[in-house]
Each structure stands twice: as structure tokens, then as C-alpha cells.
Amino acid sequence: MRLKGFLLVGILLVSVFAAGCIGTSSASGKATSTPKEVTVKDLVGRSVTVEVPVQRAVILSTSALEIIQLLNATNQVVGIPAEAKADAFLSSSLKNKTVVGRMLRVTNWEKVLAIKPDLIIDLYLKKFYNVNELLNKSASYGIPVVMLREDKLEEIPKTVELLGKLFGKEKKADEFAKYFNEQVSEVKAIAAKIPSKDRKKVIMIQPIMGKYYLVNGNDVLAQAVRLVGADYMVNLTFNGYTPVRVPMDEEKIIASYKDADVLILITSAVTPYNQVKELKETMLSNQAWKEIKAVREGHIVILRADMGKDSYLRWSPRLAVGIWQIGKAIYPSYYPNWENKAKQFLKEFYPFLS
């Protein structure tokens, strides 16, 4: 009986010891040049001091991961969010990193500490998660945090340049920023040629689980619509809050946006292309939807914003192609086919996909 008691206490002690010692560790970060300390301003204007090039980053935003991949710095990442696994634009080498969080949150600080990051990168979205908690906790562990934003088109090259500086990949970052800005300039030049009488009014709807989510005027896609020379009709604010998506019923959409010339339906992670195509057919044959000019005249276009490989309408470097897609969807006679742009873009910046 006594022996059993000793045995049990022994097992207990070994378990406690093991629990304290065993942890996850997947060190794979590599230095690319001599480290030095720099202070940078992140996308929300915070000054952050980081030792560059960053060698062991935890990145909680999938779009930032895409940028890291574009910069060829995947071996300087050690932690990713769970949703990165479903992103078709991310390579398997990135997807195989340690999962430490989900939906912008760190879900396992023990894992984070085990992989010893020298930087955490996340989005500054106070509506979605407790940003201050992340900042305070990281500060208490001595890990600097760089905050990014995904609000505007111009933030894409800025983010690429910032991450290029942090990861020691300035040359590639400059190359992309130049490419992106060129695309924007070319689109602007075409938009400037569109006479005001031909200017189109546009709305974008993302159908999800039988509901209609209007893309609001503050979304980057609405900005892209304005960039290509069209008027974006949806601008909704509720008690000072402007969401990027507004759920709205069919009747309100019809009553409010009867004059829309073009209706863009966009896919999502939940609504695959085929379902959106079915909805398009339903709209085209439905008398109520035909109250909207765009439906009546057959100007409904489907564009992809899901997690698949043909999706260019998510905030990421891919929008360099996305703006051409939107241009072609609204003004088919003014804009060239975007497929060639996509080929060139993938070959240059996403070689593992092309």
C-alpha cells in the first residue's frame, strides 16, 4: 500500500516536471545579415524599436503573410494564425509553421513564448479583438508588436515597404511598391479618359448564407471602384460607426439603389462561385430585382473574393490585379483583359502559384 503511495507521488512529480519542460519548439528562423536596431513607425503611427532583419516573426494576419511570401522571407516566420491553412495563396512552407492564434488573436501564449519570436505582426482592428491586451501582454514578454491596417489601397505598398525594411528585403519590397503604384497610375489614366456621361454607378453585394451584405463605401473594394472611374453608391454610417459590410434585405437594396448601372456580386469563403452564379441567374429572372437598372439591363458581374487561387479582391498585394478586374467588370470597353495582368503578376510575385 505504502509502495503504491510512493509510486503515485513519484508519477505525479514526474508529470509536473514533464509538463514544465515539454513544449512546442519549431525554430526555423534564419538571419540574413548582421542584426541592427531600428525604430519604425507602424501603420497606426506607433514607434516600434525592432532588431532587423527580423528572424523569428509571429504573423497573425494572412494578408501580411502573403506579403512576407512575396518578399521571400518565409523562413523568417515562426508563428501563423489557424486560418492561414485555408489560404490558397500561401505556400505549404508557410502553412506548416506553428499555429499560435486565430482571427487576429493569440490563442496560445505558451506556444508563442516557446517559439521565441522577436516580433509580432497583427492588424489594428479594435472592433474584432482586444488590441490593448495583445500589446500589453507582448510588452510584458518583451516582444515588440507592429500594427498594420487593411483599410486603403495605398496602404498595400506602404505595408510591403515597411515589412521589407523589417525583414531585410527592401529591394523586393521596392520592386513590388513600384509595380503596384504603376498599376494604380495606369488605371487612373484610363479612368481619366472616361467621359462623365459614361460614368457608372456601382454597388457590390456579398451574399452569405442567404443574406445580402453590401460592401460599404469605406471598404478597399469601394475605393477600387472609385479608382477605376465609377461612383460607388453605398455609404452607410450607424451612430458614427461605419462597418465595411452592411447586412441589408432585398427590398431595402432595391428601394435604395434602383439607379445602379452595375451590380457586382462577390464570392466569399462561405459562398463559392457556383452559389453566387445561381443567385445571379435568380436575380436576372426575378421581377423585383429587375427594379434595379443594372439587373434589368443584365449588368451583373461576379468577382471572386474567396480563399481560392482566382480570387484577387481581398486586401493584399493581389489587388494589383483586382483593380484591373473591377475596371473590366464596370467598363469592359475601356479596360484590357485582366487575365494577362494576373499571369504577369503571379509569375513575378507569386512564382510558386504560376
Binding site: 448564407m209 443574406k211 447586412p247 432585398e250 427590398e251 431595402k252 435604395s256 469563403a269 462561405v270 423585383a288
Partner: protein, 313 residues
Amino acid sequence: MMRKQLALIALPTIAILLGIFVGSYPTDPLHLTPGAIIIIKDIRLPRTLMGISAGIALSLGGMTLQAVFRNPLVGAYILGVSSGVAFGAAIAVAFLPFAGVAPLALLFGLLAVFLAYWMARINGRVSTVSLILAGIIVTALFSALLSLLELLLPSESLSALVIWLMGSLSGATWERVTYSLPGVITLALVFFLLRWDLNAMSLGDEAELLGLNVHLWRGIFVFISALMTTLVVSFTGIIGWVGLMVPHIARMLVGPEHSKLIPATISIGITVMVLADVVVRLLPGDIPVGIITTIIGVPFFGYLLRRTGGGWE
């Protein structure tokens, strides 16, 4: 009595008229434009009819289970229907988006009730307590599975699922109404035909003295209620509190005798559901109707709980 009967006819009639003529698109009943006629035919009528279907199904489902279990705090959701429907919807979103939400929600909603009933059936008998406990177990199981699935969903799927689960009539189409309303009306008629058995069942196990096989009838009423509820919530999402609130209002008005209680419950159910949807239409965006019914239902139920202490009157 006559005034009450008139009110029970007038209230749903007014609600339905409001359902047809109130919305963001201008539809003046005296000067209907071709556009207004199309909006009424293609959008408001299916939406109002889905409201009628939801009002009848949720209210009668709640009324029946309250009578069968002789407990005023019981509704169809306590048997696991809502958690089953939610899990089915999440499966559709996570793994089978091409299959559509409604069929899987319907399947899992019914599966949850079958599981609860099977679990509660001991030696061929199903007691009220064991069925409610089994319902709680099944609800816990499906809620845990739902949480697990939610961990796998990307953020936009998760927020869409959460909004869907709050319940809404805005996605109503003629096709969905065709799947839901005829079934609900048929089952409502079945309830009406069985109104004497329902009266006897509300006596509890004493109904056996009247020659009724209590356990068999309990099973029949549970499944009809569950089927009725699932025929609605698999299309609309979870609309809470209607099944708890409406039967009580009806009982206060006409008493517990089911030949009067069933029509009264149907009348108030339609009124509450269609009016709640009219309120939604007048608010900005697309607020889930389940939020409105909960805002109305919670204080009412709190009042009821304090008044009755949760007992059967």
C-alpha cells in the same frame, strides 16, 4: 367572449396587411404601381407567409410541449432542436457549402430530438423529467460540437453563421415558403384534430385513467412539435422566445382548453411574428428578427416566472 374572438381575428389580419404594405419600397395600397405590385408579390408576400409559418409553428410547438410536460417554461428548443439546427448549419458552412444550409439544419434538428427521445426512453417509458434531461444532454453535445466547428471556420464564415443563427425572415422566398408553410399548416390541423387528446395529456400521467397510452402520445406530440419547429428554423435560423411567450398570452386570453387555445395561439403567433418582422423592416440594415422577439420575450418571461414561480397554473 365575442370581443376576444373578434380581436383574435382582427389582430393577425392587421399584422398581415402591415406585412404586405409596410417596407422601404413605397407601396401605397390605394395607388399600387407595377413596381409596388412586383415588390409585394416577390418579396413581401413570401416574407409575410414565412412569418405566418414561423408564428404558427413556434407557438403551437411551444404550446403542445408545455401541455404535454405540464411545465410553462418548456419549448421545443429544450429538446435540442436549436442546437441540432445550429450544428447542421455549421456543418453546411464548414464542409458542404454546395449542399445548402436548410437541408442539413433540418436533418440535424430532427436528429437531436430523436437522440433525446431515444436517450430518455427507459423500459419503453419516457418520463417528463428524463426527456428534459436528455434534451439538456443533447443540447450540450451539439453545442460542444458547434463550438469545435466554429474554431475551424474563417472569420467571415463565423460571423455569417452567428447572424444566421439569430433568425431572420429576410431570406424568405416562394420556394422556401413552399417547403415550410404547407407542412406547418398540415401539422397544425393534426394538432387541432388531436385537441381532446392534448387536453387529456395536460392532466399528466392521470391521462392513463382516461384510457390514453400516455407514453405513446407523449412521443407523438414531441415529434410533431419538433418537426413543425424544424420546418421553420432550418430556413430562418433560431427565432427565440415566440414558443414560450405566445402560448402564455393565449392561455391568459382563452384558458387552457385546447379547442380554443389552438386557434388563439395560432392567431397571436402570427401577429407577434409578422409584426416583429415589420419592425425589422423599418429599422436600418437587416437586423435579425430573433433579436426583436428576444427583446420582447425576455421581460415578458421574467414577469411570468416571478408570477408563477415556474409552476403550472
